[in-house]
Amino acid sequence: MNPMVPSRRDFLKGAAAAAAAGVVPMSVVKLAFADAAQDFTFAYISDAHIQQISGAKFVHNWDRGLIRAVAETNLLNPKPDFVMFGGDLGQLGRKAELDHGAEMLSKLRYPLHCVMGEHDYYLDLGEYWSKLFGPHHYTFDHKGVHFVVLNSILTYDDWTYNRWPSAEQRMLEMAGLDNPNGSPFMVGEKQRAWLQADLDKVDKATPVVVFSHSPLQKLYKGWNFWTEDAEEVQALLKPFEKVNVIYGHVHQIQYNQIGKIAFNAVMATAWPWPYPQSYAQAQNAMPVLTVPMNRANPFFERDATGWQFVDVHTGRVAMKYNLYNNTNRTVAWNPGTGKPEDSVFQDPAKRIPPQVHY
């Protein structure tokens, strides 16, 4: 039977649930937990890559991705408490790109917090970004959860300050994902010291959510799916009972569990990236846990792009991926196995053909 067409029974079931929940397209994952902390949701939009062609002309495709994510976020019910932007608002860090992106983000009805991405940073080292969005790394607390925003796309000083003849050249070099002239991302010693001092003040039972552009793991160096000081940062997070890291940059569904830290990647609104295992010439480490997103049909410009809303329930994160032209996906913490899992496709027997990447 064509999965696109609901049977009447499915339809009636869905109608009842949806009528109760409002405009929200996905049911809120209810996890059984003895002590319920405050539950809330927030939305996550990332990797818009607004790209200037010339003057006031921008790449139509990426513009539409951000516009749609914002419009749909505004329809969410229950309303999200705030919205995160996950980094890479512009493609080459230009003022025109950041302004154009900020204008689209300004249509959001909820408070916005932003994460720095490398495409925003390497032209002017985040100077204009600060004018628009504030500090590059910071923390905030919300309903009993401690949120940390890292600038995790820094790199070695030598590369940043001495290597390139111009800021534009430096930005171009970092902009190429597969550019062998690039340099690995890191949080860096200074920021790690700041993080340590901050976390020392936080009770170890407080749930911690870290927002980062780079994965805070070492996945595939060739495409900078990589944080050079991942182990050091993870060590700082180790003392906490419940840690969730949410990262951008990879433009694909990924999730993983290292020790007590659950890692979740977010989708890009602009374009999808291949999984590193599809590059035949490279050895790479992809989290075994991840059930890949569906492969893109490039005709549909929004295919394999999307945005997400995050359901925080008793300090654990459930990622609801809102995907265009695809079945939405939920990756939620499974208390039985102690890992994030895809609520439908985790079992290999349930996978569908577009999830096979080769």
Binding site: Q51, G222, W223, P274, A280, N297, F299
Partner: protein, 136 residues
Amino acid sequence: MKRKTAVAVAAAAVLAVVGGIAIRADEFTKQDQERWEKEYMSVVTKGRELWTSPQLGTNGVACAQCHPNAANTHPETYPKFQKQLGRVIALREMINWCLQQPLEGKPLALDDPKMVALEAYIAHERRGVALAPGKH
């Protein structure tokens, strides 16, 4: 008999001229292979340049933006039925589709040297993967 000797003498003369290396018209040497390999890599390099160039289309988008290291191009599956064109096609027709659609540019002639370079780069990054024509 005389003729054979004459030929042998002539051949020996040629050998002497060429300085002792025996080269037949349809044999090639290790040096030839190395040189040809370099010729090929020069085109692969050209393909890589095009791959990262914002000039292929009209909107500044480069192939490498969606296909780092030409990943996800699946050259080993061509020819195959391509949904976006409604028929079975060869790889270069899909390259042209990408040039026109996401890159909003003009297609290349199927025998354009640039097209060959793009294919050479794609194939080089996918070397070693077995043919699987028609696969989705």
